[in-house]
């Protein structure tokens, strides 16, 4: 746990110093803010469901950008050799990277609390359950996307390639719901299980279904394990 926290803290501190983080932050806030303003001020709805689904879409692009360097950069600069000869476990490296990306995403989401504040102050008939649970759902979805991103980053030593791979995998999980209309009913049940949107929908309605929560946790664990396994199989480290 200690090593995970040390790695996460260092990564987060470095992210705070990098210009890229601020570009990501500004872009994220501009796009989500525009969407929020449209729903609230034009359509005059005191709800955040619309903006939540926009944020979900933004995750597909922004989270790969945040995670792309996590392991790929360690590989390309050779610092993985340094890490692997320290008394830490490989899983601690992977989880440290996940945690730091998670902290970065939470920082982005923290700014979105402004939208929540605006709704609370000016809105009427607010469904607090839907707003709070929807936010929780997004946090868990973010964790799953991050895990996918870190796994993608463990594959090549090129950051751009890592971004593309993460985008493709995350994109698949995202667009599955648009494929649903094309497939027969018998397949649909199995296919919709992989849709992030499907699992988020109950959160958005203000219903906490433990199965949806478990889905995101499972995706996170699976990809974190795959990332660890991938590093190991590349003989980067011993079985630590």
């Amino acid at each position: 746990m200690n090593a995970i926290w040390t790695i996460a803290k260092k990564e987060y501190q470095l992210a705070l110093r990098s210009v890229t983080s601020y570009i990501v932050l500004v872009l994220f806030l501009v796009i989500s803010g525009t969407a929020f303003a449209t729903t609230v001020f034009k359509i005059e709805l005191a709800e955040l469901r619309g903006i939540y689904s926009i944020i979900h879409l933004l995750f597909v692009f922004f989270i790969p950008a945040i995670t792309m360097g996590s392991l790929a950069k360690e590989r390309s600069s050779g610092t993985i050799e340094l890490l692997s000869t320290l008394p830490i476990r490989l899983s601690e490296v992977v989880w440290g990277k996940i945690l730091s990306a998670f902290l970065q995403v939470l920082t982005l989401l923290a700014f979105c609390l402004v939208y929540f504040g605006i709704i609370v102050v000016f809105g009427e008939n607010i469904d607090y359950g839907a707003i709070i649970l929807g936010f929780t759902g997004l946090v868990f979805a973010a964790l799953a996307y991050i895990s996918i991103g870190v796994f993608a980053s463990s594959l090549p030593s090129n950051q751009v390639l890592a971004f593309v791979i993460a985008l493709v995998i995350s994109g698949l999980f995202y667009v599955v719901r648009y494929l649903l209309v094309l497939v027969p009913l018998s397949v649909l049940r199995y296919l919709q299980f992989f849709s992030f949107e499907y699992h988020l929908s109950s959160f958005m309605k203000g219903v906490l279904d433990i199965r949806d929560l478990l889905f995101f946790v499972a995706v996170t664990l699976i990809f974190a394990f795959l990332a660890e396994f991938n590093l190991q199989s590349k003989n980067m480290m011993q079985e630590r």
Binding site: T85, M237, R240
Partner: protein, 347 residues
């Protein structure tokens, strides 16, 4: 005490390290010498547990390093070949980061930080970004990171590469100090470095160890003869009389350059004829300008050992010459030619 048994590592069909075995006892500095691509880095990477060997085993005080890699890595300090560092971090931060990952207590870190900053000369760059440091300073930061946790075993892959001559002297001094209490294994392709630092030398070529001996004994591999260089203030000095007394000697060259007469004599290594020679010169009334015996340098030994993959299993008094015919005269002339070739290359 590190023990390596039949260690091999293949990359596809390339045998980077081929069944090497050796052991390193505590409190010594061992030099790992070899041309580029000989397998030094691969062998070292396996010793620190970064690469898995294809075959063979590595023991640290009798226990395999793969049995408990985490315990092993607390005992080893490692400076990787290209010295990878986090460029965005500040020197002090990177040391703090390594200390945190090694779970060093705060008080111990403060104490060790002071030591490594002093011994590696990092005072001036402690608050500078690592990415902006010169190669020499980067190397020192890497070394500081390797010795931060006071390891028993230090594995340094080309520790002085990229340093200027003054820095090299400082770092060598540091390594020498460390070597008195710790086991140090350093790799290099620079002869003088190994000659200056190490108690023992391992020469590796094409994945195989070709020499494993104490540094002083290395010259025994080529102790068959030495060359005496003599310079006189005389005109056409005649040494035929002297040579008659010493039939085992051979004049390699004699030249007259202005008022100076230059002479090179090949002398069997066990023979000391300097006094005789000086007396002979004095009797003839010539003046000695210079007289020195040229020993084979480690450089030459290394060159001879590693060219064309010649493998020596044990010390021999025969010079390593690929095409040497039996019979002393041929050997000598070939050796001579080799030397001349080298001389021309240097010019």
């Amino acid at each position: 005490m590190i023990e390596i048994k039949n260690l091999s590592r293949h990359f596809g069909s390339i045998k980077a390290v081929d069944e090497i075995s050796f052991s390193i006892s505590s409190g010594t500095i061992t030099g790992f010498l070899g041309p580029n691509g000989a397998g030094k880095t691969t062998a070292m990477r396996m010793m620190v547990g970064y690469l898995q060997p294809s075959a063979g085993s590595i023991f640290l005080d009798g226990a395999s390093i793969f049995a408990d890699p985490i315990a092993t890595s607390t005992r080893i300090g490692y400076l990787p070949e290209h010295n990878p560092l986090y460029d965005e971090m500040i020197t002090q931060e990177i040391l703090q980061y390594i200390a945190d990952l090694r779970k060093m207590p705060r008080a111990l870190f403060d104490q060790r930080l002071q030591y490594v900053v002093e011994s590696c000369g990092l005072q001036d760059v402690l608050v500078q970004r690592v990415g902006t440091l010169s190669k020499g300073y980067r190397q020192r930061v890497g070394l500081a990171m390797a010795i931060l946790h006071d390891p028993e075993i230090l594995i340094l892959d080309e520790p002085t590469s990229g340093l200027d001559p003054n820095q090299i002297i400082e770092i060598r001094e540091l390594i020498r100090n460390l070597g008195t209490q710790k086991t140090v294994l350093l790799s290099s392709h620079i002869m003088q470095e190994v000659q200056a630092l190490c108690d023992r030398v391992l020469i590796i070529n094409k994945g195989k160890i070709i020499v494993d001996d104490e540094i002083g004994k290395l010259k025994d591999y080529f102790k068959d003869f030495q060359v005496l260089h003599l310079e006189l203030e005389a005109e056409n000095a005649d040494f035929s009389e002297f040579m008659e007394y010493h039939p085992e000697l051979e004049i390699l060259s004699q030249t007259q350059e202005g008022e100076y007469f230059k002479l090179q004599i090949k002398v069997p290594a066990e023979l000391d004829i300097k006094y005789d020679l000086a007396r002979f010169v004095a009797e003839n009334g010539w003046l000695i300008v210079s007289l020195y015996a040229q020993q084979k340098s480690l450089e030459e030994i290394f060159h001879n050992l590693t060219k064309e993959g010649k493998i020596l299993s044990e010390p021999t008094v025969e010079p390593v010459l690929e095409d040497a015919e039996p019979g002393k005269e041929t050997e000598m002339s070939i050796e001579l030619q080799d030397k001349e070739d080298e001389g021309e290359k240097k010019l």
